[in-house]
């Protein structure tokens, strides 16, 4: 399998924003490394899908969104949740299933929701979030709110009918949706070229008559630039846009995956393009010091330690509450 062609790195980003991007990617990386440990320790159960390797996509994209925008994500959404502003405490408590979790423990790893940041899941049906994103955007259009709904999904979703239906409807009705395809080359264990007759994903989106491009999903600055441009166009009322972010998942699909479907050499090759290492190299070249980078690492490490302590001390919802939140309480 050859690597996809990538865009050249954009001009060296600078200053505070660079350190923000680093911190946000590191938060995701360290949070998930801790999750893997906690999974082995039996603290986190169910399915756990790690985003490690793909951090540049969520972090780059979130920079271009405002608090009024909406986010719809997949079951591999810890990165999006953290980058969107859900606290590590609330997210880790959710991983534990504790009542202080962002979904009050009812969702777990795959179903992160947060009204305050307009984070609408955490959808674990591949493709199932796209129609919801279209509807959120329809509500904004009908209410004449200049918002964007950012909809993240993987290359696997491209094979689903809901992908095609949703792109068509969003384009037909000129809805303010930003479709962000995280192409990590594998739908669980099925490589893109084993599932798709046409592997150029953005070409499919162009067929629905929306602006569509691909970008290097291992380059946080490239993702940010592409998403800023697309979001700006959407906010002007030009209808939906589509960005394919070419990326790679360094870890297994979930904690139960023996990775029989890909070569270790391929994984190692992609790890050489680690988005965090690449960003560090770039910002060091731009003058950020080793001390500043080490300080960022320490801050993140402290935050992760605090969120684990928070989740440990958080409470279990009383069993008497089992049936709450199935229906809205009525007066």
């Amino acid at each position: 399998m050859t690597l996809p062609v990538t865009t050249p790195p954009s001009s060296p980003a600078r200053g505070e924003h660079d350190r923000t991007l680093l911190r946000e990617m590191l938060r995701i990386r360290r949070f998930e490394e801790k999750c893997a440990e906690l999974y082995s320790a039996g603290k986190i159960r169910g399915f756990l899908h790690l985003y490690i390797g793909e951090e540049a996509v969520a972090v780059g994209a979130m920079q271009a969104l405002t608090p009024d925008d909406a986010v719809v994500a997949t079951y591999r959404e810890h990165g999006h949740a953290l980058a969107r502003g859900i606290s590590a405490n609330a997210l880790m408590a959710e991983m534990y299933g504790k009542q202080e979790g962002c979904s009050h423990g009812r969702g777990g790893s795959m179903h992160v929701f947060d009204a305050a940041t307009r984070f609408y899941g955490g959808n674990a049906i591949v493709g199932g979030g796209l129609p919801v994103a279209v509807g959120l955007a329809l509500a904004d259009k009908l209410q004449q709110r200049p918002r964007v709904t950012a909809c993240f999904f993987g290359d696997g979703a491209v094979a689903e009918g809901e992908f095609h239906e949703s792109l068509n409807l969003a384009a037909l009705w000129k809805l303010p949706v930003l479709f962000l395809c995280e192409n990590n080359l594998y739908a669980m264990g099925t490589r893109l070229d084993r599932a798709q007759a046409e592997t150029d994903i953005s070409a499919k989106a162009r067929a629905y008559r929306m602006p569509a491009e691909w970008t290097d999903g291992m380059d946080v600055a490239a993702v940010e630039a592409a998403v800023r441009q697309a979001a700006e166009s959407i906010r002007k009322g030009n209808g939906p846009a589509f960005i394919e972010c070419r990326t790679y998942r360094f870890r297994a699909h979930s904690m139960f995956d023996p990775e029989l479907y890909r070569d270790k050499a391929e994984v190692e090759l992609w790890k050489k393009r680690d988005p965090i290492a690449a960003h560090i190299a770039r910002i060091k070249a731009a003058g950020v010091s080793d001390d500043e980078i080490a300080a960022t690492e320490r801050d993140v490490s402290d935050e992760i330690a605090r969120c684990v302590a928070f989740a440990e001390s958080a409470g279990w919802e009383p069993v008497e509450n089992l049936l709450t939140d199935v229906y809205t309480p009525r007066p």
């Binding site: 279209v134 509500a139 239906e165 809205t328």
Partner: protein, 324 residues
């Protein structure tokens, strides 16, 4: 006021659209075509294409878009042409509409109304005529209502729109042309079953178009001196067991009429709940009248034979009374 079931539905839609700017209707051919069953005829001219939205044939996405729009502060009414087509949107209904409130720990409610036609009786064969509302009634997180009368056709929509959670409205295909007089125009509750005919000998529980077949059976039986009590469930989820059990404790005998198939059906659920709560009040086994275990056939004589009919309902009641 003389009206039809179709006009009652339309007048409810019109009132909702006029009353609440957040309400809009979307679905296949609801606009220019006027609705497959002509329910929305004229509404496009009256309310415009922003609020009466023709969708492509993509059930999963326009139902999912209804969910998203509800999350975004609107009050969408989504029309799905028939219950058979709603299977293309099962993912959105079952995996999203029914679960998001729970999965989000109560942060997001989904005030969405989905209307669809259901049922057989018009020779539409096996992909347009099934009665799958009982499946939906299986799912926690949604509410399922089945207007059988003009008053409910007129009044349930507004109540459903006011409900903070997803409500599915099933309109039986054979009812659209039903004529009658409608007195009140206000909203009706969607919590309670209704006793449509009081009686003392047997409780017959039904819903939707089978209410009318059951009332016809009641007339036949009355001529034989058998006085049945007819309950119209109105809401299939949650079931109003208080009304059902109260009636069964009075009559001590029960039959269930359900256009779904018997195996794994709503009729099975109702019978089981009666047995769980009121076994010792029963003087006879519970009878069930359901659709024969066959995909709905096209020829009229076979379709008629497959469905509950007044005579088969009457026969079941006689058996419950051991007078067969």
């Amino acid at each position: 006021m003389k009206t039809t079931y179709r006009e009652a539905l339309r007048s409810a839609l019109r009132e909702a659209l006029a009353k609440d700017p957040r309400v809009f209707l979307m679905g296949e051919d609801v606009g220019r075509y006027g609705g497959t069953y002509a329910v929305s005829k004229g509404l496009l001219a009256e309310f415009g294409p922003e609020r009466i939205r023709d969708t492509p044939l993509s059930e999963s996405t326009f139902v999912g878009a209804g969910i998203g729009a509800a999350l975004g502060g609107m009050r969408p009414i989504v029309e799905v042409m028939t219950v058979n087509f709603s299977l293309l949107a099962l993912d959105q209904i079952v995996n999203n509409a029914a679960t998001i409130r729970h999965m989000s720990g109560g942060q997001f409610s989904i005030p969405l109304v989905i209307r669809m036609a259901t049922g057989a009786g018009r020779q539409l064969a096996a992909q347009h005529a099934h009665s799958l509302e009982g499946w939906y009634a299986h799912i926690p997180g949604i509410r399922v209502v089945t207007p059988a009368t003009l008053e409910d056709a007129r009044g349930m929509l507004w109540t459903a729109l006011e409900d903070p959670d997803p409500v599915l409205i099933f309109e039986h295909q054979t009812l659209y042309n039903m004529e009658g007089t409608l007195d009140g125009e206000g909203p009706v509750d969607i919590d309670r079953a209704a006793i449509r005919r009081p009686g003392k000998d047997v409780t017959v529980i039904t819903y939707g178009a089978n209410l009318w077949k059951t009332l016809e059976a009641a007339e036949m039986l009355a001529r034989e001196g058998i006085d049945i009590e007819v309950i119209d469930l109105r809401t299939l989820r949650p079931l109003d067991m208080t009304t059902i059990i109260g009636s069964v404790q009075k009559t001590r005998r029960a039959a269930v009429v359900d256009e779904g198939w018997k195996s794994g059906s709503l009729s099975a659920e109702i019978a089981a709940r009666i047995v769980e709560t009121a076994f010792y009040d029963l003087d006879a086994p519970i009878a069930r009248v359901c659709t024969a275990e066959v995909p709905i056939p096209y020829p009229k004589h076979l379709e008629d034979a497959a469905l509950p009919q007044p005579h088969s309902i009457a026969t079941a009641v006689r058996q419950v009374l051991a007078r067969a």
